[in-house]
């Protein structure tokens, strides 16, 4: 379970963030100022920090410098102003991402997930097969010079297939790595797979997804028309 640190002086926003993150399976530790957060970090470790820019005492930028620079903890900044100045200053301080207040808790979840994935060097963020390039960090695929955004599930599914091109990928493998749940129904997987298939066709990708009955799926290079 990922440990998330939340540093925010506004009690209502803090409560809300903590609630959402806990509901979505994160281990959350919240603090109302930079001092308390740093004190906690003397003995403990966290995977990611969500930090408000405007705080009494040490502000978010300064805290980010310490967290990212000295402790190598990725930071997502919460900024109220919604101005690029803030954002640039945040990136200079070493923030991995930023969110403009007011934000939807869902957006925060999405970004935390993305930042954690990015900071995990084990996962290959860029994959490529037969003219189709996947960007797992931004959930995009590039086909013929055009970039398309894909829903998270569809992209992860495609990633499973591209990782083992022209080989059968079992439904169980997909269920586990995409949904994290072996019991995901065949129907759900099929629905998403069909959508992905239609999209690849629409994008003129030179690949196709074959269904291997009872087992799973296989990604194939699309042969030129003349070969058929």
């Amino acid at each position: 379970m990922n440990k998330v640190m939340v540093v925010e002086d506004d009690v209502n926003i803090r409560k809300l963030v903590v609630l959402y993150l806990q509901k979505n399976g994160y281990d959350v530790f919240d603090f109302e100022d930079a001092g308390a957060a740093l004190e906690y970090l003397e003995d403990e470790e966290v995977d990611i920090a969500v930090v408000d820019v405007m705080m009494p005492g040490m502000n978010g930028f300064e805290l980010t410098e310490v967290l990212n620079g000295d402790l190598e903890i990725p930071v997502i900044l919460l900024t109220a102003k919604g101005q690029l100045d803030d954002k640039e200053q945040g990136f200079l301080a070493g923030a991995s991402d930023y969110i403009v207040k007011p934000f939807e808790p869902k957006e925060l979840l999405f970004r935390i997930r993305a930042v954690l994935k990015r900071s995990n060097p084990a996962a290959d963020t860029k994959l490529s097969f037969s003219g189709v390039t996947l960007d797992r960090e931004h959930y995009e695929i590039e086909v013929a010079g055009r970039t398309h955004m894909l829903p998270v599930k569809e992209l992860e599914m495609l990633a499973c297939l591209v990782e083992r091109p022209e080989k059968v990928v079992t439904r169980e493998h997909i269920a586990e790595s995409v949904w994290g749940d072996l019991d995901t129904s065949t129907f759900t997987i099929n629905t998403h797979m069909n959508r992905l298939r239609q999209k690849l066709e629409k994008y003129d990708a030179e690949v196709r997804i074959l269904t291997v009955r009872g087992v799973g799926y296989r990604l194939e290079r699309l042969e030129a028309e003349t070969d058929i």
Binding site: G82, Q83, L84, D85, P102, E104, K106, E107, F110, R111, H138, Y139, G145, R146, T147, H148, M149, P151, V152, K199, Y203
Partner: protein, 486 residues
């Protein structure tokens, strides 16, 4: 202010009149001294010559002189006839003796004088002048020359201010000095001159006052107009047509134009405030109402869910409105300084699109983009606003199965960014209004928008000197195209 201007105006004009009077007086005196006076002297010498002839012919000896003088009384001349008792023997030697005073009968030992006409007021004469004429020469009033520099010298009742000719009576040399009797003429002339001066000054004074009135009166009216405008009384009629067609008229015209502009700003502000108030009021009322329902526990299950999501979306609308208002306010006060610097446009647009990533995730909207690498000299923050609003707009009016396409094309001198969607589209008759503040296409259906987004886009594009176009087919989708110079 008007008072002092009025007074100063009169003072200046009075000074001008006085100075011009002095200058013209000087000029006429110079004319008199160099032209009129010599001419008059010649005339008098002519008269003196005539008298000399008459005296020399009609007066046979000295005893006849008084009778002749009595006769001369009738003329308008002042006359002095002097005989030198010693003949001209004293000659030049005694000249240094200075002045003698002419008196009726014998004087200064040997001289004798006879007067005719009005008496001279001053009868001192240089002995040299007297001897000069007695020895047969003509006197042209040189001794009075200095005084003649002034026109009034003409009227100087002085025996020196005469012309003199030698007259031979009974073998004895006499000196005849004559001068026009100006006492009569003097008063007439003087009165005319006085009337001239007084009239000139009075008339110019009247004109000065009238003119000052004429000049300062419209200024007073303009001040009243300015005061009224300050009090935001835009009904006040400045009537620039009633002013003269000069700088003051132009000022009135400018003031009238300014009033128009202020009035427009004023009514725009009023409308803006009432729009904002309305747009703040309705989501607040919804939030209040639904929150109350939830609080009272009057709605349960799915209904409660529904109520909560209404509260949520209305709050979201409020917050987006607040954010947009802040931006608009910045533009309105023109305090926003456009800071131009090279911007990697493709990177920026990609970043903006990725911000919407989470919202697209479960919406079923298919977003794709194709961006040429391009650097333009522009303002990062303003550009961000344009893309942010356009993409957010496309997302707002699209639903499951729709496509959004963002392209950036490098066209050499400029770049073209287009955002197309296959969403709801806009009716032809509404296309013109979508860039207006607070205009929302089908306001009832789209509760999410603030109605300010596209107004901001338009204003931002204008600030950056670009153009924006919109094409739309109702039910098929919309395309916005922004062109910016590199």
């Amino acid at each position: 202010m008007m008072n002092t201007l009025y007074k100063r105006f009169i003072a200046v004009l009075l000074a001008v009149v006085s100075v011009s009077l002095v200058v013209s007086l000087l000029a006429s005196n110079i004319l008199y001294a160099f032209y009129s006076k010599p001419k008059m002297n010649e005339q008098m010498l002519g008269t003196a010559g005539d008298l000399k002839t008459v005296l020399e012919q009609d007066v046979s000896d000295a005893s006849g002189i008084p009778a002749a003088m009595d006769m001369l009384d009738a003329l308008d001349y002042q006359v002095a006839l002097i005989s030198g008792g010693d003949g001209n023997t004293t000659g030049e030697e005694s000249v240094s003796g200075g002045e003698v005073t002419l008196t009726e009968g014998p004087f200064n030992g040997g001289y004798a004088a006879h007067f005719a006409g009005a008496p001279f007021e001053r009868t001192e004469m240089d002995l040299s002048t007297l001897e000069h004429v007695l020895s047969g020469n003509v006197y042209r009033g040189e001794a009075a020359e200095m005084a003649n520099w002034f026109m009034m010298g003409h009227f100087m009742n002085d025996v020196r201010n005469t012309v003199g000719v030698p007259v031979m009576i009974d073998g004895e040399q006499h000196a005849l000095f004559i001068k026009q009797d100006s006492s009569l003429m003097f008063s007439e002339f003087h009165i005319i001159l006085l009337v001239f001066f007084v009239t000139a000054v009075l008339v110019s004074l009247i004109f000065i006052i009238l003119m000052s009135r004429r000049l300062t009166e419209p200024l007073g009216r303009l001040r009243t107009a300015a005061d009224e405008i300050r009090k935001e009384n835009f009904e006040y009629d400045i009537a620039p047509g009633t002013y003269s067609r000069d700088e003051i008229g132009q000022l009135a015209g400018s003031l009238d134009a300014m009033k128009g502009q202020l009035q427009q700003n004023h009514s725009m502000r009023q409308k803006f405030i009432s729009d904002v108030t309305h747009d703040l009021q309705s989501p607040l009322l919804n939030i209040q109402g639904y929150a109350k329902l939830l609080e009272d526990g009057e709605v349960q299950g799915d209904d409660a869910q529904e109520a909560a999501s209404v509260v949520h979306s209305e709050a979201k609308r409020l917050s987006s409105l607040a954010r947009q208002l802040m931006l608009l306010n910045k533009f309105d006060h023109q305090s926003y300084e456009v800071k131009k610097a090279p911007v990697r446009l493709d990177e920026q647009i990609r970043e903006v699109i990725r911000v919407f990533r989470w919202r697209l995730d479960e919406s079923g909207i298919d977003l794709s983009y194709s961006l040429d690498e391009a650097v333009i000299e522009s303002d990062r923050n303003l550009l961000w606003n344009i893309w942010d609003n356009l993409v957010s707009n496309a997302v707002k009016y699209s639903s499951d199965g729709d496509e959004i396409t963002v392209t950036l094309e490098d066209r050499g001198t400029h770049v073209e960014v287009s955002v197309r969607d296959t969403g709801e589209g806009i009716r032809q008759e509404e296309l013109d209004m979508i860039f207006d503040r607070f205009y929302r296409v089908d306001a009832a259906r789209s509760s999410e928008g603030s109605g300010l987004g596209l107004a901001i886009v338009r204003e931002t594009v204008d600030m950056l000197g670009g153009t924006i176009e919109v094409e739309s087919t109702f039910g098929e989708g919309t395309a916005f195209t922004v062109r910016l110079e590199k």
